[in-house]
Structure formats: structure tokens, C-alpha cells
Homo-oligomer: 136 residues x 2
DNA sequence: CTTTGTGCAAATTCTTTGCACCAAA
DNA sequence: TTTGGTGCAAAGAATTTGCACAAAG
């Protein structure tokens, strides 16, 4: 896990301001693939002047610099993940929670044309153990 | 390919109205993974009274009924695909076009917990042959 | 008649922009 | 003094909702 947040940011050419460290730190600590609003709501009690704009700015910057990734698994909200290692995501259609999953091996790109592939995402959807319909 | 649109809709418990057939037909014919607006713009010349609401309603219905799928590959617009066979998608970060790709074999779900998996999506992003940065 | 689909306009929601202020180099 | 980060309010864009009318059974 990322422990030295300021250093980590600098490695990605992101100047470590108070807000940026707080946001990156939240992402690294809470592995819940939070939305912008979840981050904002979690941090604003301790940083009363924090604005949503800054959260948006910072997350966009982190993604651009390769310090975090944006998940497209949720149609309604952007979700962010500090973990850059290859792994898949599962989204429960019941409670909306997103879980990390192992990426199936052999799921590497196969350029059927001369495409340059820079990233890959694997998403599963269904029901988690709590929401599983078979409990009816 | 789906040829008998009205029948296909009925198999999925969707009553085949004029609008629904036109939309489903467009989806089945144009394998470009269109957005709501692309569909609306394409059809409205021949159906001047068609409204965006109906396009939204119909596409939501088709997805609910399993007659089409919603792609999460584009953060800014919902994109739809009439093809329900397992395949992956590639999105060009240059021109925004979305291409079908073979799904890598062995990319089947592996329920690390007792999760019920109902769908899977595999997305690649990068640059297509036209937009490839190596042409610099 | 009753139910269902359609379409317009208004409302919601998420995200970005413009601009002023502040802090750091 | 120049640059870059922050925050507020406003703008933008995609989608949904409310409601009235039309069509179908």
C-alpha cells in the first residue's frame, strides 16, 4: 500500500498540497472505489473550506498523471481507485458496492488490428453474497 | 444478425411499436455502438415526431429485457450494442470510435466469493490505426 | 373504458468553467 | 511578480420525471 503520500505524488509530478495529499490519502486508505461526493463528504468535516471543484480537479489530475485510475463501472458516478495493479472489478446490482477481484489470467490484449492498447478494464456485474437473490 | 425486428422484440417481451422497431432496427444495423443522440439524429428525419425521451425509454427497456446492452466504456455518453454475444470493446482515445474485439479466451468469471455474476464487460482503450501516435 | 406508449417541457444530477483570491517560488 | 492551487457561483451536458394526449385492446 502507498504509505508516503507526498512522495508518491511527487513521483507522479503532482505537487503535494494539503488537499491533494488528503484526497490521495483517502483513496489509498479506503479501498471502496469512492465517488467524488463520498470523498468530499468524508474530508470536508476536517477541511471545512474544501470545495468539490478541488476534489474534481485533483482526481482528474491524479488520473492524468497515472497516480490513480478512473473506473467506468458505474454509469451514474465516476469512481476512483488508487490501486494501479491489474485487477478486475465486480459491481453488485443490489447494493451498488464495488469489489476488487482477481483479473483472470490470459486476459491480455490481443491487437486484432494494429491498435495501440494503453489500458484495459474488466468489469463483472451481478449480486454480492448479501444481495444474492438466491436468499429468497 | 437480427432480421425480424418485431419478432425479436416480442421474444424479449417488448411490444413492437413503430418507434421501438425503428430504434432496435437501427441498433441491429449500425454496429457503431451509437449514443442516444446519434440514434435520435439518425431517425428523426424520417420520424419527425420522435422524441429523445422515447429513445431513452426504449433503450432502457431494451437493456432491461436483455435485448441490447449498455456499454460503460464512454464516460460521457451511454452507448448501446445490439450484439449480445460475448466480445470485448476497444475505444480509441483519439477519435472516440468504438470497435468490437474478440474476447480473450479464459476470461470467464471466477467467483472469488459466492457472488452471482450476471454479466461481464472487457474494455480496452488506446489508439486506433488512424490515430496511432506512432505515425508522428 | 382501461392500459400503455409517446412527446414536450421542466427538473435533476454530475461535471466543468470563469474568475477572483491566496500562497509559494 | 509570476505562477499555480483553491473555492465559489454559474454554466453545461446527459438523463429522468411529470403530465397530458393519443393509440391500442
Amino acid at each position: 500500500m502507498i504509505t508516503k503520500i507526498a512522495e508518491y505524488l511527487q513521483e507522479h509530478d503532482v505537487k503535494p498540497s494539503m488537499q491533494r495529499v488528503a484526497i490521495m490519502s483517502y483513496l489509498a486508505t479506503h479501498r471502496t472505489h469512492p465517488t467524488v461526493d463520498e470523498i468530499y463528504m468524508a474530508l470536508s468535516p476536517d477541511m471545512p473550506t474544501l470545495s468539490r471543484t478541488t476534489v474534481y480537479n485533483t482526481l482528474n489530475l491524479l488520473v492524468e498523471q497515472g497516480a490513480a485510475q478512473l473506473l467506468d463501472i458505474d454509469e451514474h458516478n465516476a469512481r476512483y481507485d488508487a490501486c494501479m495493479d491489474p485487477h478486475a472489478h465486480f459491481r453488485c446490482k443490489g447494493c451498488g458496492a464495488i469489489f476488487d477481484m482477481e483479473a483472470p489470467r490470459a486476459a491480455r490484449p490481443k491487437p486484432s488490428d494494429n491498435f495501440v492498447i494503453t489500458e484495459m478494464q474488466i468489469y463483472y456485474k451481478g449480486y454480492c453474497s448479501k444481495c444474492s437473490p438466491k436468499s429468497n
